[in-house]
């Protein structure tokens, strides 16, 4: 799409994999890299972006734009610590799922805004009661999964839906514990037919950040979670360009040394990202 922001759908087929945490921190990192970011909570049933950012009292949301009840600009609030713009969810009131025409209207509004990125946090699965054609409005879908069999299978199922509709997608593996019993990145890369753009470890900073209503990346930029999200964010930054869009990002000095000396196989995630960028 030539006009408007690069619209990213943060999605998963299962709940509890950390979509909102990834969406909030992805938007935070991109905003701190001086990209103009709009974070949208499109989970009509259980909006939670507001809890992550201390905006839980803003009882207006994306649904109000679709229903043409409000001026779209009046729904957008500024997250003061980062300067990013946020359309939080409507916590109260009856849950009303939008029609196709309402969704088309929402995306029309999004396209008109002058942002580099629109990060849209969604409910698990595909929106019920409407056909999947609305997904064509996104530029890319990020599938969030955890390294266990049921979640990975669901991610593959969701990827198949996206493939059917021709929607570009990528995978972020969240809550990695580096344990023997969990599915390794290599296994995921072999089974998932797309680029794995992030491997984010399980980190105590995440529940703390939700309790404090501050994105984890702002609480500690050097913890494992923040570094994982930061690496993934810079890969998405490469989609729109800019000086932070570094394809070398994600490789530690030690990794680069081993790679130069030929003692280490190149990082598969990095290799897939670079290959994609070269194409």
């Amino acid at each position: 799409m030539a006009k408007g922001p690069y619209i990213v759908r943060i999605s998963s087929q299962k709940g509890g994999v950390g979509k909102t945490t990834i969406a909030v921190n992805l938007a935070t990192v991109l905003s701190m890299l001086d990209y103009k970011v709009l974070l949208v909570d499109a989970d009509y049933a259980n909006p939670s972006v507001g809890f992550h950012l201390g905006l839980e009292n803003v009882n207006r949301g994306f649904a109000d734009i679709g229903a043409k009840r409000v001026d779209p600009k009046s729904v957008i609030v500024t997250h003061a610590p980062t300067g990013m713009h946020v359309i939080p969810g409507r916590v109260g009131g009856k849950v009303v799922y939008p029609s196709i025409s309402q969704i088309e209207w929402q995306f029309k509004i999004l396209r008109e805004e002058n942002y580099d990125f629109a990060i849209v946090d969604t409910a698990p699965g595909i929106l019920p009661f409407v056909e999947n054609v609305y997904l064509k409005n996104y530029d890319e879908a990020v599938i969030v999964t955890t390294p266990e069999m049921a979640s990975c299978t669901s991610a593959i199922r969701l990827a198949h839906v996206y493939d059917t509709l021709g929607l570009k997608h990528s995978l972020v593996v969240n809550r990695m514990r580096n344990k023997r019993y969990e599915i390794s990145i290599q296994e995921i890369e072999e089974s998932y037919e797309g680029s794995v753009t992030g491997a984010v470890p399980e980190d105590e900073i995440v529940p703390l950040s939700i309790a404090e209503h501050i994105p984890a990346y702002l609480l500690n930029q050097r913890c494992g979670f923040s570094e994982g999200v930061s690496r993934a964010s810079k890969r998405y930054a490469a989609r729109v360009g800019g000086r932070y869009a570094s394809k070398r990002e994600g490789m530690s000095l030690w990794d680069r040394l081993l790679t130069v000396l030929g003692l280490r196989k190149r990082n598969r995630v990095l290799a897939s990202v670079e290959k994609e960028e070269e194409e």
Partner: protein, 661 residues
């Protein structure tokens, strides 16, 4: 109206014989005859209805035999044409009217219906015969006219022509009625118009251009608003309003140099101006602004007389390049009030100081005389560069002077945003009796008394470049408002942490070396300042220990870890020595005592050639090695490991999903 198939029900006779007649007895016949007037029935409906609320159709029964209609009961049904399912059913009647035709309405809800084609059917039955009539109609969405775009130039100069373009499109399923376009402009000049545009069929677009030459008369920022309403099948619909803003600026001119006119030193400002029949209801006590910026303020008037007045406002010509008003003429009826906006725009080269700008007010009665007076707006101007943040403030007395309200706006520089900044303002101590009388909101703030002032520190987490953020404060019972002229403001871009925390010691080696050898001290410090700074390391030698490179410098960027190494040599005397390490950066310094342990020289082991190690050290090293090896193998055992079986399972599931979807 569609007619039903004709029922020719001439008469219905039903004969009941109670028994066969017996021989020789009288014959008895019981007969009951019901006669129904023949008629047809039809349903009247429009071809299309919007799926909203209820739908009303009618049914008509007409006699075909020239007789009066017979009372009958029947059923009305609405049937989905594609599924043949009845979605609505209700009883209907033909009452005894004595006439040959009968028409009645029937209303049903559309809440459970979808957008498709339906059959409305009415049927009357009697004695095994029936007659029915039906009609089809479709349910569709309303017309949905939206404002596709609303555009105009974002800047203009005084007196120029403005052109606004409004594009509409009907994105609904049905045609709209004529569209009413409400177009308004608010700002220093206001404008309102209501245009009627032609109806739009589904999918149709239209462009409307409005050209105006009377909305750029005064400098300022204007907001134009467009909203539409239209009729769709009897329902009034409206779209989301669309707005844009544009700025009208003055043509470049070299105005006269204003005369600096400091306020009187009486300690209090003069009372609000009173002129016959006109009261100033609101006049800021003090407005401050940085050079090369615009500060918006306002002046309030009320006509306290009982006649309509025309009030003219004039800024003293010497200051006309500094101050402009949103209007110069106001018509006020008895007891009417109005606010006039005042734009204070000190130029880049304006001398700093306090300016009291006269505003001449003339009130003219209808058919009567003229009264006039002069009010003063006081401005404080201070210096700043284009790359510096702009702090502007306004102060006014409200609630009959019992509360002083202040607004402070902080505008980030054009070339960079603010991050981790602190707005510090010092209010004179005489302004309030107690610290509890001062309330600050809008930004996270704290108030302390320091250096004979109230010091208010407000945190600004992040403010993107050219963006504005506001802080508000109020003071109950202000005792000396004019003392606010001594207020000062500053933006501190230091980290909110105390200066010592800008440098954080991340690691330092405390070596234990043997006498007469060379050792290395490594110090790492984390710099957490907000802007790049030189960090200086100084390791001070002692009489026993020599430092070869005692002073080292490095340029540190925010959140960068700086590591420096110092080479030391020592004299043979054993013991523990403390070397002072000083690390400094802009606004921060750190001191740390580095203990250096010098062990006595031990004889070497001639048989092995290895340096001598005491037995307990050797045992310790052995235990550490054992633990390290166990940890290494244990770690490998629990770490994530590639499993071909799991990968194969996932791939099989992927193929199964593809195959079965």
């Amino acid at each position: 109206m569609k007619k039903a198939s004709l029922l020719t029900l001439a008469a219905l006779a039903f004969l009941i014989a109670s028994a066969m007649p017996a021989a020789g007895s009288a014959t008895q016949v019981n007969a009951s005859v019901t006669v129904i007037c023949p008629f047809t029935v039809g349903v009247g409906a429009r071809s299309v209805y919007p799926r909203y609320g209820t739908v009303t159709v009618n049914y008509t029964a007409s006699s075909t035999g020239g007789c009066a209609l017979t009372p009958l009961s029947g059923t009305f049904r609405v049937i989905n044409e594609s599924t043949n399912k009845v979605v609505y059913s209700a009883g209907v009647t033909i009452p005894r009217t004595g006439s040959q035709t009968y028409t009645s309405n029937i209303t049903f809800p559309t809440s459970n219906m979808t957008n498709t084609i339906y059959i409305a059917n009415v049927m009357f039955s009697a004695g095994g015969f029936s007659t029915s009539g039906s009609n089809t109609f479709a349910l569709v969405n309303y017309a949905d006219v939206v404002i596709e775009s609303f555009s105009a130039p974002s800047t203009a100069t005084v007196g120029s022509t403005m052109s606004f373009t409004i594009s509409l499109q009907n994105t609904g399923d049905t045609a709209s009625g004529p569209i009413a376009l409400n177009f308004s402009i608010s700002g220093p000049r206001s404008y309102n118009s209501l245009l009627t545009l032609s109806a739009l069929s589904p999918g149709q677009e239209s462009n409307t251009v409005i050209i105006l030459n009377n909305v750029t008369g005064v400098v300022g920022t204007y907001v134009a608003l467009a909203a539409i309403t239209y009729n769709s099948y009897g329902s009034t619909q409206s779209s989301t309003s669309s707005s844009l803003s544009y700025t009208v600026s003055q043509p470049v001119s070299s105005g006269p140099q204003p005369v600096i006119n400091p306020p009187s030193s009486g300690g209090t400002l003069p009372p609000l101006l009173q002129i016959p029949q006109v009261n100033f209801t609101y006049m800021p006590l003090l407005v401050s602004g940085g050079r090369n910026s615009t500060t918006l303020s306002q002046i309030g008037f009320r006509n306290s007389g009982n006649l309509t007045e025309v009030i003219n406002l004039t800024v003293d010509p010497a200051y006309s390049s500094l101050l402009s008003l949103s209007t110069d003429t106001v018509n006020l009826g008895p007891n009417e009030s109005v606010s006039v906006q005042a734009y204070f725009t000190p130029g880049a080269n304006l001398p700093t100081g306090v300016y009291s700008i006269p505003i001449y007010v003339t009130a003219r009665y209808q058919g009567g005389g003229t009264a006039s007076g002069t009010g003063y707006l006081t401005f404080s101007v201070y210096s700043q560069g284009g790359s510096q943040p702009i702090v502007a403030s306004q102060v006014a007395l409200t609630n009959n002077g019992t509360v002083l309200s202040g607004i402070i706006s902080i505008i980030a520089p054009n070339n960079q945003g603010l991050r981790n900044a602190t707005l510090v303002q010092w209010l004179p101590l005489s302004i309030a009796k107690n610290i509890s009388d001062i309330s600050v909101y809008g930004l996270s703030s704290n108030i302390v008394i320091e250096n004979n002032s109230y010091k208010i520190s407000s945190k600004i987490g992040r403010l993107p470049r050219s963006q504005t953020i506001y802080e508000y404060y109020s003071i109950k019972g202000p005792s000396n408002p004019s003392s606010l002229l001594r207020s000062r403001y500053a933006i501190e871009t230091l980290s909110p942490e105390s200066p010592q925390e800008v440098l954080r010691l991340a690691g330092i080696s405390a070596p234990a070396i043997v006498g007469n050898t060379v050792g290395t001290i490594t110090a790492s410090v984390l710099y957490t300042g907000t802007s790049p700074s030189n960090v200086t390391f100084l390791l001070v030698p002692s009489p026993q220990i020599t430092v070869q490179n005692e002073t080292q410098k490095a340029l540190a960027f925010p959140n960068q870890l700086i590591t420096k190494q110092f080479t030391i040599t020592n004299h043979p005397k054993n013991g523990t020595y403390i070397l002072q390490l000083y690390i400094s950066a802009a606004g921060a310094n750190l001191t740390y005592g580095v203990p250096v342990v010098i062990n006595p020289v031990q004889p070497s082991n001639p048989s092995s050639g290895l340096p001598y190690l005491p037995l307990y050290v050797r045992i310790g090293v052995f235990i550490v090695l054992i633990i390290a090896v166990i940890a290494l193998f244990k770690g490998r055992a629990i770490r994530q490991r590639y499993s071909p079986d799991r990968a194969g399972t996932l791939i099989r599931m992927r193929e199964q999903i593809k195959r079965e979807s």
